[in-house]
């Protein structure tokens, strides 16, 4: 007697057991994506999942039983741009880490947002370079001691939703792995949205972040996400000192702008 997990049908045969460490948030993000596809009743064969290099890049690769393009470090958005432009019918989703998408890949990130090309970009932000062993990254909190900031991080982290918004993204949200339900809903919205959608997921890396920086194990980290999150809807009512150390979650923007592939199609028609 067995109950079959409803998402197993989307997992590539033979790859059910992942290489993620125990309690890694990447597994929760992977399922949130698959659950969104399932709830949307979309055919996963209409998707192309594109990732870069890092633990987060292994969320779809090879786990998702779909077309998966596991690319080079920092470049998944540029690869995805080529996929989408040359076949706009495909639903293209980029899933990668904070280091991949906004350090080495930061330029592709802002330019894809500026172009408003119809991509869904999901950033698994663990605040660290997980795969290479816990070095500081562009989203590491100031002051934190990491493998390459033994005296504390002297730099400030990016605020990714506001970066994406300023660069021109039409849908932007931030959640934590604790908000898996809201995250699923947001992914559904992002997939249906025409244009550049971006979702940041604050995610626990219990090994290279938790253990090294003293943030604790997966359970502690997720309990802290729960405790420290504030909905963006309430932010205006809070004073600056009340927001210190808080994670602002929710939808940062949801607007309509002309989408690149559609504009290209119109241009082709215009010039005959």
């Amino acid at each position: 007697m067995k109950i079959v997990h409803p998402l197993i049908k989307y997992v590539r045969p033979g790859f059910l057991s992942t290489t993620n460490c125990a309690g890694c948030g990447n597994g929760i993000i992977a399922q949130s994506i698959l659950r969104a596809v399932d709830e949307l009743e979309m055919d996963i064969d209409d998707f192309v999942f594109v990732s870069g290099i890092g633990c987060a890049a292994w969320i779809p690769s090879p786990f998702f039983n779909a077309d998966v393009l596991h690319t080079t470090h920092g470049r998944p958005i540029a690869f995805a741009t080529g996929v989408k432009l040359s076949n706009p019918k495909l639903r293209v989703m980029v899933v990668s880490g904070d280091g991949d998408l906004v350090a080495i890949g930061g330029n592709h990130f802002i330019h894809a947002a500026r172009r408003n090309i119809d991509l869904t970009v999901i950033c698994a932000n663990n605040g660290i370079y997980g795969m290479t062993g816990g070095q500081v990254g562009p989203t590491t909190p100031s002051g934190l001691k990491t493998a390459t900031t033994p005296y504390g991080n002297l730099e400030r982290p990016f605020d990714l939703p506001n970066l994406a918004k300023a660069a021109g993204a039409v849908y932007v949200a931030r959640w934590t792995t604790y908000h898996a339900r809201q995250l699923t809903k947001s992914i559904k919205r992002a997939v249906q949205k025409k244009g550049f959608s971006f979702i940041e997921v604050i995610s626990q890396c219990p090994v290279q972040f938790g253990r090294r920086t003293g943030a604790g194990n997966a359970v502690t980290m997720m309990q802290n996400y729960k405790k420290n999150s504030v909905s963006i809807k309430k932010v205006d009512k809070l004073k600056e000192n009340e927001l210190k150390g808080k994670i602002i979650v929710g939808e940062f923007i949801d607007r309509e702008e002309p989408e690149l592939c559609e504009e290209i199609a119109k241009m082709r028609e215009r010039i005959g």
Binding site: T71, T81, K84, I264
Partner: protein
């Protein structure tokens, strides 16, 4: 001008002929970033692609351009980028990715003065070895060297055909002379242009059921959007696309098979242009240097001196056997390159001491060899 193939006789710049060759070859995606002396290719593609239902993407940099054409290629589209040395330097990691993932695409390098930013408008043949070895690791590559505007057209088509057939990036190694020079170009009728299409897997098979990579005879390419459930990765993988990054056997298997895919089909890939007859001395050249050789041979003929010419149209894979055969027929080989000696080392190795090899760069690097300078050299060694 919305014709896909501009059949007829034209007076065309090399860069434009290259773009037209691409359109004629069925290229429908171009991603690039402006750089002299390759910009005209991008400009022409920006105008022409939308006319024929294709897409031009001006990316934020060359890293992105190379990435985008690989992405496009995986949707089944013929894709190309064009740049010069500095751009190639930025593309090299993703060129390695295209080799490892067996992604057909064409990369045009209109070479210019270097190193570094060098001299944008000056010509040079400085990136010959970069094309062969620039990306990291161990691999085989294909590179063609056009000598005229006509060949910018013809060899671009050939580059696409080789890329599609062997599922690999193919370089077109032009230079500022060829890119910017205007000459007659005869564009044949569409029906006369041979187009090779990549092999696709049988419909409705998923990746998990058939070998999609690492076949020395080229595996069918499971392009996106057809339910193949492809897993494309630059990580070490097996023939089913399964990542295996912790064992040497997997590494050995992948590297050897990727290389063999090219080396096994060398005879089919390589083309050379040989006019030896009974000459004891032969001039080896490629790309623009061949133009100087042609002039020098005419002058020598007037003095009743018969020297042969051996032109490499394919630079990589290196025509080793062809050179070896040549060395057995002649006494002296003069190698002309517009650099300080890149392909000459490969030629010396292939000659195996059967003939004397003399290297001849131009007097002033970057400039075309002066024909009388070549003539004097020939008379000196004869």
């Amino acid at each position: 001008m919305s014709n896909k193939v501009l059949t007829g006789l034209h007076f065309m710049q090399g860069d434009i002929a290259c773009a037209e060759g691409a359109i004629a070859a069925g290229c429908r995606f171009f991603a690039g970033y402006p750089i002299t002396p390759a910009t005209e290719i991008a400009e022409r593609m920006a105008k022409r692609l939308p006319e024929v239902g294709g897409t031009y993407a001006q990316m934020e940099d060359e890293l992105g351009s190379m990435a985008a054409i690989i992405g496009a290629s995986w949707t089944g589209t013929r894709a190309m980028t064009a740049t010069s040395g500095p751009g190639i330097s930025l593309m090299l990691e993703n060129i390695g990715y295209a080799i490892a993932t067996e992604t057909p695409c064409v990369v045009v390098n209109v070479q210019r003065g270097a190193p570094s930013t060098g001299s944008a408008t000056l010509s040079f043949q400085g990136d010959i070895l970069q094309a062969r070895r620039g990306s990291h690791g161990e691999y085989e590559t294909i590179a063609l060297a056009p000598s005229s505007s006509q060949e910018m057209f013809d060899l671009t088509i050939k580059a696409f055909n080789l890329a599609e057939k062997f599922r690999t990036p193919v370089f077109l190694l032009a230079d500022a002379f060829i890119g910017h020079m205007r000459e007659e170009v005869l564009i044949p009728d569409k029906s006369k242009i041979n187009i090779v299409k990549r092999k696709l897997p049988p419909c409705k098979m998923s990746l998990n059921e058939y070998k999609s990579s690492l076949d020395e005879n080229v595996a069918p390419m499971p392009i996106f959007g057809h339910g193949f459930k492809s897993h494309v990765t630059g990580s070490t993988h097996n023939s089913y696309g399964k990542r295996d990054v912790t064992n040497y056997e997997a590494l050995d298997y992948e590297v050897k098979l990727l290389s063999k895919k090219i080396s096994k089909h060398k005879r089919e890939i390589i083309s050379v242009d040989s006019e030896i007859k009974d000459s004891n001395v032969v001039l080896i050249s490629y790309g623009t240097t061949y133009r100087a050789v042609r002039e020098a041979r005419k002058m020598l003929k007037r003095d009743n001196i018969n020297v042969g010419s051996f032109r490499l149209i394919t630079l990589w894979p290196f025509p080793e056997e062809e050179i070896e055969d040549l060395a057995k027929k002649v006494k002296k080989i003069i190698v002309l390159e517009n650099n300080l000696g890149q392909i000459v080392t490969y030629i010396k190795a292939a000659v195996k001491g059967e003939a004397e090899v003399i290297f001849l760069p131009p007097q002033v690097l970057g400039t075309l060899h002066k024909p009388d300078y070549i003539v004097d050299k020939v008379k000196e060694v004869i």
